[in-house]
Structure formats: structure tokens, C-alpha cells
């Protein structure tokens, strides 16, 4: 009987991987891109650590951390970010789910609406809102209003993340499969859809967090002392603490992104959202 020889395998049981040739220009452009990002970062870091002409230390960092304004503004922005994320997700997850499930013809409309915050500049948004504040001036005395405004600002990122997440799974078939075995709508959303778009939700949440932590225009025009307003103030008054603050801000954002990366990797190992739709 004829046999077909299997490809040679390594001790680990896998076929040996071909060593890919990487050209000089690939390395060149890669290094150039890395330098483009790293040089300013390194310069800022070095500047933030300089304490005298030849001395280095964490003096400016200590000064920033000791400033009660830093803590107040940071915690205020963080609270706003969390509120924005919660409001955004509570509003957008069922909406995007429903559009995917029942109103797919509305997706182009949603695409256009979701990018409106890119088209309308924050200054114009505040001017528009001033009409609302004229009628209801008490809104301005409540810092909570910022979270609702930030939901609009973060809409493109929240919507895009959720839309991409729901495109990656077959929402309709999964929903119908859950319903066929007796799951009502809200349990389907909770137990079947949400766990499978967790990475997308996290992506949207961290992008929202980054936007809220860095948003300056609206908060300064509405006279709220957010973290971005504090950064701007420090930048205008003290150069080295401003550099230290920039590094702190960068580290926090980077930490959030790494958290997302690690979470999505762990999720990837547990399961893959590959539900294949088969064309008829």
C-alpha cells in the first residue's frame, strides 16, 4: 500500500518554521518610526528628572504628587472617565446590538452619526450647549454634566469598537440559538453577547478613558478643573513639573493600554469569537 510521508517535525511536534528574511529597509523604517516616538519621550523624561545642572532625581514628581490640585483634578477626571464609560456602554451596547440584530439597514446612518463629534469641534459643541444652559442654568453647577458631554465626544470610539466587536461574532445566529433554547432577550445579551464582545467593550472603554483624561477645551470653557486643565496650568507656570506630569499622564495611559492588551490575550486563550456565517 502506498503511503504518503508526513512533513518532518521537530521534537516539539511542530514543523520547523521558515526563517523569514527581513530586508535592510524594513529595519531602517522600523527604527526611524521608533526614534520618532521615543526621542521626544526620552527628552521629556530626562528633562523631568533633572534637578540641577548635573543632578537627577524625582524632585518634580514628588512636587506633583504632593500638590493637592493634582490629586483633586486627577481623581475628578478619573471619576468622569468611569462615569462616561458606564453611560456610554449602557447607552451604546443595546443600541448597537439592536441595530445589528433587527435594523442592519440603519448601520450606514449610525456610521455617519457616530463620526459627527469629529466633524463638530468641541468649541462649537460648547456654544451649542450654552443654549441648553441658558434655559437650565443649574446644569452648569453640576460637574456630572461633563460626563454626558464626554459620552458624545467618545461616541466615535465607543461605537466603532462595539460595531467591530459585533461584526466579529454572528450576532443574529447566536441570539436565535440562545432564544431557541429558552433564553429571553436580556439573558441572551448578558450571557451570550456581552462575554463575546468583552474585548471590544474594553477597547472602547480605554479609548474613552484616554479621551476624558486629556480633554481640555470643554472643561476649561465650562470652568471645571479637570486633569487636562491642571496639566495646562502647570505647563504654563512650571516647565519641569509639567514634563513630569506629561510622563505621569503617559504612564497612566500606557498602563491602561497594557491592561487591555493583557486582558484580551487572556480572553483569546480561553475562547475565540469565531462564529462562521455560511452563505446560502
Amino acid at each position: 500500500m502506498a503511503t504518503v510521508a508526513a512533513p518532518a517535525e521537530t521534537k516539539a511536534g511542530r514543523a520547523p518554521r521558515k526563517r523569514r528574511h527581513v530586508s535592510f529597509w524594513t529595519w531602517f523604517w522600523l527604527i526611524m518610526a521608533a526614534l520618532y516616538f521615543l526621542v521626544p519621550l526620552y527628552s521629556t523624561l530626562q528633562f523631568s528628572l533633572e534637578t540641577s545642572q548635573h543632578g537627577y532625581g524625582f524632585k518634580w514628581y514628588s512636587q506633583i504628587f504632593a500638590d493637592p490640585m493634582f490629586r483633586t483634578s486627577f481623581l475628578f477626571s478619573l471619576r468622569l472617565a468611569v462615569e462616561t464609560v458606564i453611560i456610554g456602554l449602557v447607552l451604546m451596547v443595546p443600541t448597537v446590538y439592536w441595530v445589528h440584530l433587527r435594523l442592519p439597514q440603519l448601520r450606514p446612518v449610525m456610521d455617519v452619526v457616530s463620526i459627527l463629534p469629529f466633524v463638530v469641534p468641541p468649541v462649537a459643541l460648547v456654544v451649542g450647549l450654552s443654549g441648553v444652559f441658558n434655559v437650565m442654568p443649574w446644569l452648569l453647577s453640576n460637574s456630572q454634566i461633563l460626563a454626558f458631554i464626554y459620552v458624545i465626544l467618545a461616541l466615535p470610539f465607543t461605537y466603532r469598537s462595539l460595531d467591530a466587536g459585533m461584526r466579529a461574532i454572528n450576532v443574529k445566529t447566536l441570539t436565535e440559538a440562545a432564544q431557541s433554547v429558552g433564553a429571553p432577550g436580556w439573558k441572551t445579551l448578558l450571557f451570550v453577547i456581552l462575554p463575546n464582545i468583552r474585548t471590544a467593550m474594553l477597547g472602547g472603554a480605554f479609548l474613552t478613558l484616554a479621551i476624558v483624561m486629556g480633554e481640555y477645551t470643554i472643561s476649561s470653557l465650562l470652568l471645571f478643573n479637570t486633569f487636562a486643565v491642571y496639566m495646562y496650568y502647570i505647563g504654563n507656570t512650571e516647565a519641569q513639573p509639567a514634563a513630569a506630569l506629561a510622563i505621569i499622564s503617559f504612564t497612566l495611559t500606557w498602563g491602561a493600554m497594557m491592561g487591555l492588551f493583557l486582558l484580551s490575550r487572556r480572553r483569546g486563550r480561553a475562547s475565540s469569537p469565531g462564529v462562521t456565517a455560511v452563505s446560502r
Binding site: I169, N170, T173, L174, E176, A177, A178, Q179, S180, V181, G182, A183, P184, G185, K187, F191, V192, P195, N196, A270, S271, S272, P273, G274, V275, T276, A277, V278, R280
Partner: protein
């Protein structure tokens, strides 16, 4: 086990009529296949039974109770989908347990039932695997176990094998039939594959343009199609114009070649008819040089062979016109293209339809 009754189900999508007054009864424990080409309305009918679509009018009865307004989640019907539909965040066992958990069944009972069903579909050893760790066939078997876990009144299968390769399809369809018969569960099976429908069903409902063309046992559908559409969709047919000459004789084609037919076809002498002949009813015999066919046979010439394994499909030109015959492959070797043959048609394989 339950009896399913579709009464005058009509469905319109805008101006398109997907189903036109469809009526069908499925007896307890019976497996009925809805068979038809793409767009004939078979999946729409199944989705209406499942509760994912509402009919424009008509009634759906389960054991005599009208379930038309009942939402899908409360119909107690298990469904296996064409697309792989396992929940990606759950293992095979968790997928099977899901419906029971929705019904608040105790955890240990859920686990035991899921174990039994995974055993039944031959996947007990893969219970803790996630869907992406299973092959397509295994995923559909888990989907079948998940649909059965809730002990549904009706099992609905929407082309569950169409995404699988040929070998797995044959194995899995036998397994589905085995499980269905063992549990005696009333089943509605949608497919566009006539071989699948013929092999798995108690009865087949052939559909075209939202209407039922014919309902019957697989052998009846195959042997006695009631329309040209059914004849051509289920298996292969040779079709010719003809005229009834006598109760047991029909004149076929432009040459009015007489062919024997079984009496009792219900057509009167002189009627114009469509004569349908199954390829396996055409017998070929090689003709020696100068010989002529005898005893009601007529002459043909082999044009082409298509090897299908145990049989070879032979295309002929003959007095009737172009004709297709299925011949055992070993015999077909003796009549290569160009061979003169005597063609004889078995009257049992001839079917007459009104013109």
C-alpha cells in the same frame, strides 16, 4: 413528542411573497424534510415554526394549540443552524447546559444531562473543549446536543450539514437520523440536497416559489413526481413530449417512437403528455455491425461517459432525442463513445404528466 401543524401559513416580505398558503402536517416522531432550491421559502417556513419570523397570516399548531403568537424563547423547540452557532465563550458542556440553566434546572442535573447528550453524539471526551477547538462536524454535533438538552417538543434543523465536507455530511446525517429515531422526536429538516432528504426523511415536502409542490415518502417522491419541477429537482429525469397511444403505450418525441408504460397513469388515449424517464430505467445493449434493435428497443449512439463510481452516466443520441442512461460502470466499459446501442426503456420507470 408532538404533532406539528402548519395551516395556511402565508409570509410576505414587502412585495415579495416568501410563502403562499403553506399547509403541512408533521406527525409525532416523524422526520419531514423541506426540500427545495435556494429562495423557495423553506428556511422562512422553518423560521416561522421556530418563532423567529411571524407569518403574515396562517396558524401554527403544536399538539392542537396555536403557538403563532408565542415568542421563540417559550416555544420549546430546539434548533440546529446552518452557521456554526455555539456560544464561543462556553465549552461544549456549558453550551449543552445553557438551555437547562435558563430553565433554572439544578446544576448537578444540568451536568448529568449534558454528559448524557454529549455521550449520545459521541463527544463525551470533548466536553471541556471550546468551540474553536472543535471541528465543524463536532460543533454541529454539540449544537444538536444543545438543541436536544431542553427536551424540545419539535426539533428544527436548518441545513445543518451544508458547511461540512462530503464524508462528514454522510456520517453526521446518519447520526442525526439515529438520534432522532432513538428519541422519537418530531423533526422538521430543511435542506436543498435531495440525496440528504431522500436518505434521512420519513416524508419529504418539495417546495418551489413558496409553495408545496409535493409531499410524500422519499420513494414516492422519487418514483412518482407530480410535477416537472419535482421530477427534475429530485434526481435526474429525461423529459420528452409525447402522446398516449394506448393505455400501456405512449408515442415519444418527434419520431413518435412507441414506449411501454404501466397502465393506470390516468391519461386518456390521444392526450398530449410529458414523458419522464429515469436514467436507471434505460437499458443499453451493444449492437453488432449491421444488427438492428428488436422487441420494442430502438437505436442510439453513445456520445459521452461520466464516471460516477459504481455507475457511469451515458449520454446518447437516439430516435427520441438526447437521452441519459445510468449503466453499471463495468458494462459501460464495453460501450465507449461512438458505440451503436439498442436502447430499451423499462415501463416501470416511465412517468406521464399532463402537458
Amino acid at each position: 413528542m408532538a404533532r406539528l401543524d402548519l395551516r395556511g401559513i402565508h409570509k410576505e416580505f414587502g412585495e415579495v411573497t416568501a410563502l403562499a398558503e403553506l399547509s403541512l402536517e408533521v406527525e409525532s416522531g416523524e422526520l419531514v424534510s423541506l426540500l427545495g432550491p435556494s429562495g423557495c421559502g423553506k428556511t422562512t417556513a422553518l423560521r416561522i415554526v421556530a418563532g423567529f419570523e411571524q407569518p403574515t397570516r396562517g396558524e401554527l399548531l403544536v399538539d392542537g394549540s396555536d403557538v403563532t403568537p408565542v415568542p421563540a424563547s417559550k416555544r420549546n423547540m430546539g434548533m440546529v443552524f446552518q452557521a456554526y452557532s455555539l456560544f464561543p465563550n462556553m465549552t461544549a458542556r456549558q453550551n449543552v447546559e445553557f438551555g437547562l440553566r435558563m430553565r433554572k434546572v439544578a446544576r448537578d442535573k444540568c451536568r448529568a444531562r449534558a454528559g448524557e447528550l454529549l455521550e449520545l453524539v459521541g463527544l463525551a471526551t470533548r466536553a471541556d473543549n471550546y468551540p474553536h477547538e472543535l471541528s465543524g462536524g463536532q460543533q454541529q454535533r454539540v449544537a444538536l446536543a444543545r438543541a436536544l438538552a431542553i427536551e424540545p417538543a419539535i426539533l428544527l434543523l436548518d441545513e445543518p450539514l451544508s458547511a461540512l465536507d462530503a464524508k462528514v455530511r454522510v456520517d453526521l446525517r446518519q447520526q442525526i437520523r439515529h438520534v432522532q429515531q432513538r428519541l422519537g422526536i418530531t423533526t422538521l429538516y430543511v435542506t436543498h440536497d435531495q440525496e440528504e432528504a431522500l436518505s434521512i426523511s420519513d416524508r419529504i415536502a418539495v417546495m418551489s416559489d413558496g409553495k408545496l409542490e409535493q409531499v410524500g415518502a422519499p420513494a414516492e417522491i422519487y418514483r412518482s413526481p407530480r410535477s416537472e419541477f419535482v421530477a427534475n429537482f429530485v434526481g435526474l429525469m429525461n423529459g420528452f413530449d409525447g402522446r398516449v397511444q394506448a393505455p400501456d403505450l405512449v408515442a415519444v418525441g418527434a419520431s413518435e417512437r412507441p414506449i411501454g408504460v404501466v397502465e393506470g397513469h390516468g391519461r386518456a388515449t390521444g392526450d398530449r403528455v410529458l414523458v419522464l424517464i429515469r436514467p436507471e430505467s434505460v437499458d443499453l445493449k451493444e449492437l453488432a455491425d449491421g444488427a438492428t434493435p428488436s422487441d420494442g428497443a430502438f437505436e442510439g449512439k453513445v456520445a459521452m461517459h461520466t464516471f460516477l463510481g459504481s455507475v457511469t452516466r451515458v449520454n446518447l443520441s437516439s430516435d427520441l432525442g438526447d437521452l441519459v442512461a445510468d449503466v453499471p460502470s463495468l458494462r459501460a466499459l464495453t460501450m465507449p463513445p461512438g458505440t451503436r446501442v439498442a436502447v430499451r426503456v423499462d415501463p416501470v420507470g416511465v412517468r406521464l404528466l399532463p402537458r
